[in-house]
Symmetry: C2
Subunit: 323 residues, 2 copies
């Protein structure tokens, strides 16, 4: 592991996208908000900003890569995905900073620091939440029903690279999510990319599915796509092919995908997309980790014990595309 320091010009954040959403007809309430302060009227009626994403940047004094990295997390997650690993090692954000990439680490519309507008007034549907039990099999720590709060009773896939003793640190990263707001997420992301300029997107799971659509619609803004275990893929219409072929794609897959039918299904959809792209003349590479002899990776390779090894492959690929 590279323990060198980095020379940082600026760390900061901004919001992109969103518009005014107004709430009317709610009864104001008198609430004690601050201890030992007077009650105050809380009136939910009024104007909110809804639909924005949050973008946190770290700009190096002397970046070595010609384009910044934009990091798009997966469903029910935030930019915390890319920070420290659950067992406390430096994560991919730090890895790529050390490799000379500026990073723009995003929280999508409605997730984390992006905030969410009032439900049920602005968002009509209730959010869903991810529990540890679902995450255990969905993120392929072990088989369905294999999670236990008792560390010794967990059913773990043999050779698992995820540090399962710290699984609750992953669980602590989950945030409420809505399932039907992908287009709104993309609208905010487009504004962020317009502000930052052409970027490389490193994306995960649900975020990777969105990133593929972004390449269809806005290839002018995207210099390469890294797709970590995309949760399926958008439709690839013939009319979008001339856009998509402009953007090199790298698909990255971990281990144990055959055990859970869901990931086999998602991967089949994404593999077909990758083949269509290759057939049309695009750069469509796949880093199948087990096929490369890198075994035991979960759905979150950026948190696995060999996270730096996987990141190095991605970094090498990116420097092959642009330098």
């Amino acid at each position: 592991m590279n323990q060198t320091s980095i020379d940082v010009l600026e760390i900061g954040s901004f919001s992109c996208g969103g518009q005014i959403a107004s709430v009317h007809g709610r009864e104001p309430k008198r609430v004690k908000v601050a201890r030992n302060g007077p009650d105050r009227i809380v009136d939910l009626n009024g104007d909110y900003i809804a639909g924005q994403c949050y973008v946190q940047f770290t700009r190096l004094l002397k970046p070595k890569y010609p384009y910044p990295l934009m990091l798009w997390h997966g469903g029910a997650m935030t930019g915390a995905t890319w920070e420290s690993t659950p067992d406390g090692r430096p994560g991919w954000q730090m890895f790529f900073l050390r490799q000379g990439f500026d990073t723009y680490n995003c929280d999508a519309f409605e997730r984390g620091r992006a905030g969410s507008a009032p439900y049920p007034e602005v968002y009509k549907e209730a959010p869903i939440y991810r529990n540890l039990n679902e995450a255990w099999s969905l993120f392929r720590m072990g088989p369905k029903g294999g999670y236990s709060t008792d560390l010794n009773k967990r059913k773990i896939y043999a050779g698992q690279q995820f540090p399962v003793a710290y699984f609750e640190q992953l669980g602590a990263q989950f945030v409420p999510r809505w399932t039907n707001h992908g287009q709104e997420s993309l609208s905010a992301y487009y504004e962020a990319m317009e502000k930052v300029g052409p970027v490389v997107i490193v994306s995960h799971s649900q975020g990777a599915n969105l990133a593929m659509e972004a390449a269809q619609k806005r290839p002018d803004l995207i210099k390469a796509l890294v797709l970590i275990e995309p949760a399926a893929a958008p439709q690839l219409e013939p009319a979008d092919l001339h856009n998509v072929v402009q953007v090199p794609h790298l698909f990255v897959w971990g281990d144990f995908t055959g055990d859970d039918g869901l990931w086999s299904d998602y991967r089949a959809v994404a593999d077909e997309y990758a083949q269509q792209l290759a057939a049309a003349g695009g750069v469509s590479d796949t880093l199948d980790l087990p096929a490369q002899g890198i075994c035991g990776n979960s759905h979150v390779p950026m948190m696995d014990r060999n996270s730096d090894q996987v990141a190095q492959h991605i970094s090498d690929w990116l420097f092959t595309q642009h330098s």
Copy 2:
């Protein structure tokens, strides 16, 4: 403004606090989560991590201050408070990094990247939301009812330091909040301080009220408190005085507090606390900005045009306490 770069050893994050909360008796639902993927069962029943805070750190290669700065945001906000200002200048986190402080920028229990557990299953009460109309007067941009989505129609206090043309960037930072969970927030923060070691807390509004209680209970973990416009104050029991006097307190107040009755009331409670502390022999300093000839500051001086000037006063005070 200091535009020098900083030598950073590591950027990362972790969760602290929280425990397992279980949900039972909900009907699983079949939901299309990923486009072009199969439906999948979403089962909210199970175990969640609830009660954690999120801590994002930036550690310098060679910090100049002997203690790290822990940043505690105010109500309905997140650590975004301390990042870039709404008009895009470097914020206080960057200012203090350049001054040689390590920073630990937190999202409290249930806010932002800390995530929140299912409502109504785990949290019985609904969150409240802050709209732009409330924030306009509460954050003292101008009088009650003074907000308009039309920039030209906003009623703005004369001499206002907040960059009101970018007010929506502040609005985009608001997140859902609960009003009755202060003790849970503190529990998670105590764990974070135990992990990091003794810290200086720079706190805002609701966070400052919590920080005062933290000094009563855990003076061993707190080397100094900076209290930016505390939303009132906790009770100061005689039994806690011997703890509180160990921790130097700096109270910081902006302008226009007389115009809105709420802030006069909150300040009166905090001023009385400051006097009790001083009478007991503690370091109890107040930086009353208008009294120092620094006029026009809102409730969020870390976002105001003169944010660096205010931060410099705080930094100077901190170096007077410890160096």
